[in-house]
Structures are given as C-alpha cells and as structure tokens.
Amino acid sequence: MQNPFHLCIIDDDDIYRFTIIQSAKFSKIEHKTSVFPNGEEAITCITDNLNNPDNLPHLILLDIDMPIMDGFQFLKDYQAIESKLSRPISIYMVSSSVDPEDIEKAKSYTSVVDYLSKPLKSDKLKEIMERTLQNLNV
C-alpha cells in the first residue's frame, strides 16, 4: 500500500496514548500513527498539509479536555479549513466525560463521526479503523 492507513491521536494523556498505540498494534491492520498532546499542534499540522494528502490522517481520535486548545476549540478551527482539505478525515471524539452536554455538543459537529467514551477497547478501535478503511475504499 502506497499510502498506509494514518491514525492520529490528539490527547494530552500519555497513558491513554500508550494504550491506543498498543491496541492499534493488536488490530493487525497496517497503519502509521501520529500524536498531538493538544488541539493547537494538531490543527497547525493539518493546516500545513492541506494540499499534501499523504501527510493527512485518515482517522483522528480527539480528546476533549486538553491544555492550550481543547477538542471543541480544535473542531471550531477544523471546520474553518475542512472544505480546503484535499481528502476527508474521519474524526471520532474519545473522552472520559460522560456528561451528556459534552456528548450532545460533540455530535452537533458534522465533522464528528461519533462520540466514544473512554476506555476505548481494542476491538472497538479495530472496528472503527476497519470502517474508516471501508469508507475510504468506497
């Protein structure tokens, strides 16, 4: 595959990042992973690679609670540049918050495919990775 599956994790929690990376390994799906500890770094990277689809992720796991720029602030900025993207990105919000307010808010963003609460189990991760791949192929 010329262009392997690109998973992006935007989260300040290094333990979580570690578990996702491990779980992704367990899925046996060929992929590469990029990590951002807050929204700001992530949006900067995306903005920089708008016309460079090889560097854009296929799937983003976005946390809500982060320093500097949280998940929602990231989504706001992302919406502004979404139309300029050379390729669509599937964004899943993954948070430990069970606050319905947060869930509602997350789902109101059309950019967000789904809201998933932590912990994100290995098979669940495998499932969304597969679904994203399917969507890409169609």
Binding site: D13, I15, Y16, F18, T19, I20, Q22, S23, F26, P37, N38, D65, P67, I68, M69, Q73, S95, S96, S97, V98, D99, D102, S117, K118, P119, L120, K121, S122
Partner: protein, 870 residues
C-alpha cells in the same frame, strides 16, 4: 272846737312824753332859758329850772361844751337860720346823753327876740348808730381783705359814693362823692368803652347785669374786677340809682379762663358727643342753653328763650311726653332721665335727656338743668342689639343654648330667657347660685364644683358636660362653658358663659359612641387641629391610653416623630382632597402606644365636612400579626432563596463533581481498564514490565486526584469555619518566606499596598492557601522574557474588601479557557509542573467562605486575580 283843740294838745303832750321830746325857749334879751317839764326830765334837772346863757347848767360836763352850744345858737340868730344839732352831754352819774337840739329864732322888726326849740333824747339812736359804724368799719376791713368794695350810684346827682376801700383804691377822700369819670379812671382802656356802655344799659334796662372789667392800679398791676349791681327804686318805682359791689376776681378769672378753655374743649366734645345742656327756669319758663345746642335750635348763643323753642324740634308725638316729664321733675324735684325723638331735616333722631334739679334752701325749685344727648347711633345700635338679642334668643332657643352672667361683686346672676326654658323655670324667678347648683345631678356636682373652682383660681375653664335634674325629675345633659372677666389688678369681677342642652346630641353621641365602640378596629375621631375628640375601646386597648388621657390631645401623640416628614405629603394630599383613603406613605406606617412601642398599622381616614370644619375618623388596623406573618414568609422566602443559592452552588459543585468524575476520575480509571486489557493481550514479559510503570503512573495520579477531591469536599462541607481577624501584610510576609527560594531564583519583585484595608475576618489556613496558590502561580507561570513583578493590594469597593494579585506573567487566553480556568486538573500551559489543582482549590476555598474569585488576563501581559470577600 276849743275843747277839741285842747284835747289834741293834751294828746300831743302825752305823745311827746312818750317820744321824750321837750320844748324850750330862750329869751335873748334876758339870756334866760325856759324849759318845760319834759326837757327838765331829759336833762335830769328839777322842774322849772331856769338856765342862764352865761352859766352852765350843773350837769354839763364843762364850760366849753356849753359855750359851744351858745355859739351854735348865736350863729343861727346871726344867719337867721334854723339849727339842728346833735350833742352829747355827760350826766352827773357819768352817763352819756345824746340830745337833738332843733330850733329857730323869733324875729320882730329884724331883731331876734327869742329862740324856741325842741330837745329830744336820741341816746338810743346814737348807740345804734355807733354800732352801725362799728359794723361798717368791720365791713370795710372785710372789703379790704376780700378785695371787695361797694359803691352807690346816685342817678339824681349822677354821683357816686364809695366805700372806704374803693376810695382808697381810687385815691379819693373817703365820704366824698365822685363822678363816674373819676370812678372809671383806672379801668383798662380796652374795657372802658364797654363798661360805660354797660352802665348806660343798666340805667336803660333798670337792671345791672354782672360786669367784668380789668383795672390798672397805680403801681401798674392789672386786676380783673367783677361788678354786681342792684337797682334802687324810690316809692314811685322810679330808678334812683344802683347799689354796686366790686370785687377783685383776678384769681378767679384766671381760673375761669382755664375753665373757659376747658369749656371750649367741652363744647367741642359736646358737639362731637352730640349733646347740649340747657337750664330751664320753671317760674319764668325761660331756657338758656349751651352754644352747640343754641346752634341746633337756631337761637342766639347766650340768650334765653321760651321753653316752647326748646321743644320746637321734638317729635309731635313726644311733645306731651316731654312736658309731662318736665312737670314730673318739678313736682318730684328729682330728674328722671327720659328719651324722646326729634325731627331734624326730616329725619328722626333719638335724644336722651338727663339732668338735675337745683333747689334753694327752702327746697323750692330754682331751675332744672338738663343734658340732651343725641343717642340716635346708640339707639340704632341698641335697636340692633334688641333685634340681635331677639335673634340670639331665637338662636339660643333653636340651639338650646342659654347664656348667663354672674357678677361676683354683687353676686347677681343673670340668665338669658332660654336658660330659664332649659331649666324649665319661671322666667321671673330670681336666680341665685343654688338655683343652678341644686339642679345639677347629684353625681355630677363634685365634678362641676371642681371645674368652677378651677376657673376661680386659675381662670381656666374646660367645658364640662353634666346632667341636670328638672323639677319633674327628668334629666337633661348640658354642656357648660365659662370664662371670667378680671379687673386691672386681676381680681375676678364676673363669670360669664353659656349652657347648652346637649341631651339630644348626647343621645346621638351615645348612639354614635355605641357604634364606635362596636367597631372592630381601633377608631379615633379627630376634630379641628387633629385633636382627638373621641376614641373607642379598641383604641384604648391598642394604644394603652385611657380615653381621658387621649381626648383633647393631638393625634401626633400617637405617631412616631420619625414619620413626620414622610407623612407630610400624604397629609397635604388628604387635606387638599379629603375623601376616604388609606394612609400611604410609601412604606410601612406605624403608630406609637403609650409605652412608646411602635405598632405596624393600616390607617383609613374618613373625612366628614361639618360647618365648623373637618372631622376625621381614623380607623386603625393593627397589622402586627400580618406583619409578623409577612415577616415569617419573607424570612422563609429569604431562607429559600438562600437555600436555592446554596443548592445552586451545590449544583455547581455537583457539576464540578460531574466534571471531576468524568474527566479526573474516569480518565485514570479508563486508563487502568485499557492497561489491564493490554496486559492480558501482551505476551512479552519485557513489554509487561514496561506496562507496570504505566500502571504506577496512573495509580499515583488517581491517588492525587482523590486526595484533592477529598480536600475540596471537606472545604465545601465546612461552611462555618472558624474566622479570625487576619492581617494581609502578615499573611503576605509568611507567603514570601515560603517562596524565598523561588523569589530569589526568579528575581521576582513583590510589592503590596494594604493602606485601604489591611485585615479580614477569615479562616487562617484558607487565607494562607489563597496567598500561596496565587503567588505560587504567578511565580510558576512567569514570563519567559522578564522577571516576575507581583503586586498585592487591597481595596474597599462598595464596602466590600477586594484583594488583588497582579502579575506580569504568561497570562491566559480567557476567550479560550475562561470557562474552565478554575476547574480541577485544568492546565493551560504545557508546563511540566502544571497539575491544575491550585486554582480549583483556591476557588473552592473562597466559595466555601462565601466570596468569589475573578480573573483578568491577557496572554503575555499578565494576570490579575481578585478575591471578593463578603
């Protein structure tokens, strides 16, 4: 005939003996005196004594006297005249004998052959004459003293004989008759002409009117002389002269002049007072009157006129009455005043006549002096008074008021007609104090007496309402009002007052009072000046005053002073438009009871216009209970609000907890779950070992989070923490000590200003925690380019203490992070030590104490955290 003549001669002789007249004859040739028996007896010589011309009789006191007699006779013989001499001889016993010697010579061929004469004993007459002379001397003396003189004016000779006094004054020898010219020589030149005219008139009128003239004495002194004269008539009723007396009346005249001046004033006064006086002589029926009256009557001043003239203006119907009155006055010799009408210029005027009867010593009437006064105005006033009085009577009757007057000096009590009617007493009954007193209801007597005594002593009388018992036993209620009149020295002279039958009003009042009493609310009836006139039992209960204590007082007594200003506009509004309304002063209205307690009330004012002004009924509803219920509700509401606030706060806290549990607890727990899953799937032991370090990190993170939460929970559950007065400066100093190393390392400068307020009552640990967290943050999130500068200052804003911490550090983008700045585990910088606990704990602690924390910040400029204490 002869016999008849003889009889006459005998009679004459008898008469001569009685008159002691003797006859004698002197034979001039022989020089012998022949004396008849009577002559001898007079001279106390023996009968048939013959006296010779040259030899004095034995009883003659001396030869000279006898020679004087012979000379007198010889002269008569030479002058062939008769003689008439009065002589005094001294008889042997020493007795003085006065004799009148009258005789004449008998001539034959021109030669006197004899002298025959008469001799009369005139001793008695002479004694009388001497007495008269003595008296005259006394009179002269008197005249002299009294500056009085008299003179006789003989018209036949037109000569005047003056008394010694006048002779001396005029400067003529006494006894010598003088002419009128001489008499009037000394009269003041200005008075001479009219004096002479006056004398002429006196002769013409045969009547000497009193004359007053001035006289200038030799020494130049001017005196005023009054002359009175009486005409002298002879037996033929012809005027022969005047007997006049002159008197120096200078002093009196001076007095008179004064009097005249006064009289002029009096005249003016008379005219002003419209009265004149007149004098009527009932004998002559002539009248004289005062000048002003003369003018009114159109008669000449100072002239008398007949009575009919005085009556000319008298109203025809009153003429008879006038005459009757005068006759009555003369008859009774006492002047009873009367009133009559006159018609002047077609108008009727009323004249009141007073006067006096002058009688002489015998008690017969000399004249009647009258004073007529025009009392038309008074009469008019009187008529008015009468009609007013009728009205008053009428009014009294209608209003059932009577009036009374009690003259304390005479103890005479006068009642108005209606007062009799009220007491149902015969109007002719005499009124004494007991008349009134005995009618007073026995139960009321003491009260009335007290009031009357109070009036006597203090001259203050309050109205008193009491009952009277009439003769038939029926009872009336009357209201007594009284006042006093005092003389200049303040002594009571009279009490006057009114008494009103208020039985009906009383009945009405009782009825009204009954209604008032039955009113469920406290009610006051206010009269003029907001004076309490009546109160009901409820009001007594509410205010604690008795009716007696409150009636007569201003309603202000019941209103707290502090409400005075606030009430003013309402008061004005009410008076401008009096209608039933509630007192609304824009806040709770209170009234004050006797003990001074304020009672919340709702007051309704009801106006009633009466003739005398405005009566206000004031209905007062005690709303203490409502108010306290209201207060309870209010308190409950406040409590609820507080509770709501607390609950809201708790909700916020709950929200915080949700946040905390979802983010700060669920995150490590989910991490743990993930790690466990990974652990199960991992086969490589090396990998598993690495995994355990992750477990340790998560567990220690979880422990810290749990500990923070426990701390926060305990802060929130301890709302009533111990508070002390804490100094900001001391707390800052302590904080600086803790951060000494950091401050040195960062070269931080901390300044402070607590001049406005330096202390707060607060929980010590929390205050220290606030200082440590905020200063710690300021040091931690310092600018990358310059050393930290931290200002700590306190201010009083709206009475609240505000403590601020200002730094020049990194700052926070509040647009992005404002909503979660104080959240747990929120970090906004990728700072290695940012754990997101400090501000969360600070906020929790501040809110636990009831305050709040705010922040102002700009990225790269710095942040200011402000704590608003309560």
């Amino acid at each position: 005939m002869g016999k008849k003549k003889q009889n006459i001669e005998i009679s004459i002789t008898d008469l001569n003996a009685i008159a002691r007249i003797g006859y004698w004859q002197l034979d001039t040739k022989a020089g012998i005196y022949l004396l008849d028996n009577i002559s001898c007896e007079i001279l106390q010589l023996p009968h048939d004594t013959v006296l010779t011309k040259n030899e004095k009789p034995p009883n003659c006191s001396n030869q000279d006297k006898w020679n004087h007699i012979q000379d007198l006779l010889n002269q008569a013989i030479v002058h062939k005249t008769s003689f008439n001499h009065e002589l005094m001889v001294v008889l042997p016993e020493g007795k003085e004998l006065w004799i009148l010697l009258i005789g004449k010579g008998d001539y034959s061929n021109g030669e006197c052959i004899s002298i025959s004469g008469m001799l009369q004993d005139i001793t008695d007459r002479k004694v009388s004459e001497k007495e008269l002379s003595n008296k005259k001397r006394l009179l002269d003396y008197t005249e002299n003293k009294a500056n009085l003189g008299h003179w006789k004016w003989d018209l036949t000779m037109n000569l005047i004989t003056c008394s010694e006094n006048i002779s001396r004054v005029i400067g003529t020898p006494f006894g010598k008759p003088i002419t009128i010219e001489k008499l009037t020589e000394g009269i003041h030149p200005e008075d001479l002409e009219y004096t002479l005219k006056h004398l002429k008139n006196a002769v013409k009128n045969k009547y000497f009117k009193t004359l007053v003239h001035r006289f200038i004495f030799e020494n130049g002194v001017e005196r005023v002389i009054q002359v009175l004269g009486e005409p002298i008539f002879n037996d033929k009723d012809e005027l022969t002269g005047f007997m006049c007396s002159s008197q120096d009346i200078t002093a009196r005249k001076h007095f008179e002049n004064e009097l005249l001046k006064r009289n002029q004033l009096f005249n003016v006064a008379q005219e002003k007072a419209q009265f004149g006086y007149w004098q009527w002589d009932p004998h002559t029926n002539f009248v004289t009157c005062s000048d002003n009256m003369a003018r009114v009557l159109s008669v000449k001043e100072n002239e008398q006129f007949p009575l009919s003239k005085l009556l000319q203006d008298v109203h025809p119907k009153d003429v008879d009455y006038f005459n009757d009155c005068l006759n009555n006055i003369v008859r009774t010799k006492s002047f009873e005043g009367f009133l009559h009408r006159i018609i002047v210029h077609g108008r009727t005027r009323y004249i009141q006549v007073y006067g006096k009867v002058n009688t002489n010593k015998d008690g017969s009437v000399l004249h009647v002096l009258g004073i007529s006064q025009d009392v038309t105005n008074q009469k008019r006033i009187e008529n008015e008074l009468v009609s007013k009085n009728q009205l008053l009577n009428f009014a009294e009757e209608i209003s059932k008021i009577g009036n009374w007057q009690w003259d304390l000096s005479t103890n005479i009590i006068r009642w108005s007609a209606n007062l009799y009617r009220i007491f149902e007493i015969n109007e002719n009954d005499e009124i004494i104090f007991d008349t009134y007193f005995t009618h007073i209801h026995p139960e009321d007597r003491k009260m009335v007496t007290t009031k009357i005594n109070n009036l006597r002593e203090n001259k203050i009388f309050e109205r008193v309402i009491h009952r009277i018992v009439l003769h038939d036993g029926s009872i009336k209620t009357v209201e007594l009002l009284a006042t006093v009149n005092v003389d200049k020295s303040g002594n009571l002279i009279e009490m006057i007052g009114t008494l009103q039958d208020v039985s009906e009003q009383r009945a009405q009042e009782i009825k009204f009072k009954g209604l008032l009493e039955s009113a469920p609310n406290a009610t006051l009836i206010l009269g003029a000046g907001n004076i309490v006139e009546m109160i009901n039992k409820e009001a007594v209960n509410l205010f604690g005053y008795t009716s007696e204590e409150l009636v007569g007082k201003s309603v202000e007594t019941l209103i707290p002073l502090r409400l005075k200003e606030k009430r003013a506009p309402h008061k004005e509004r009410f008076l401008a438009n009096p209608k039933i309304q509630k007192i609304d002063i824009g806040e709770d209205f209170y009234m004050k009871d006797k003990a001074g307690n304020e009672i919340p009330v709702e007051v309704t004012l009801g106006p009633l216009r009466i003739k005398g002004g405005l009566i206000i009924s004031m209905v007062i509803r005690d709303i203490s209970t409502e108010r306290s219920a209201e207060r309870k509700i209010l308190k409950a509401k406040n409590d609820l609000e507080l509770l709501t606030k607390e609950l809201t706060a708790q909700n916020h806290q709950l929200a915080d907890f949700t946040q905390i549990t979802s983010h700060n607890l669920r995150a490590p727990v989910s991490n743990l779950n993930s790690l466990v899953e990974i652990y199960k799937m991992m086969e490589d032991e090396e990998d598993r070992k690495e995994l355990f370090t992750k477990f340790e990190t998560v567990i220690s993170h979880l422990t810290l989070t749990l500990n923070t939460l426990i701390e926060a929970l305990s802060a929130k559950s301890h709302t009533s923490l111990e508070r002390n007065d804490l100094s900001f400066r001391d707390t800052l100093t302590k904080t600086e000590e803790i951060f000494t190393a950091e401050i040195q390392r960062t070269n931080a400068v901390i300044t402070s200003d607590f001049s406005e307020v330096n202390s707060i009552c607060y929980h010590k640990i929390y205050l220290e925690s606030i200082f440590q967290n905020l200063i710690g943050n300021a040091l931690k999130y310092k600018s990358r380019t310059h050393a930290p500068q931290i200002e700590v200052y306190s201010k009083l804003i709206d009475g609240k203490v505000v403590l601020s911490f200002k730094d020049n550090g990194l700052g926070i983008d509040l647009k992005k992070h404002g909503h979660k700045i104080f959240g747990l585990n929120k970090v906004f910088h990728n700072h290695p030590e940012a754990k997101g606990i400090g501000l969360f704990m600070t906020k929790t602690q501040i809110e636990a104490m009831g305050g709040k924390i705010t922040v102002n910040s700009e990225v790269d400029q710095g942040s200011t955290f402000s704590i608003h204490f309560i």
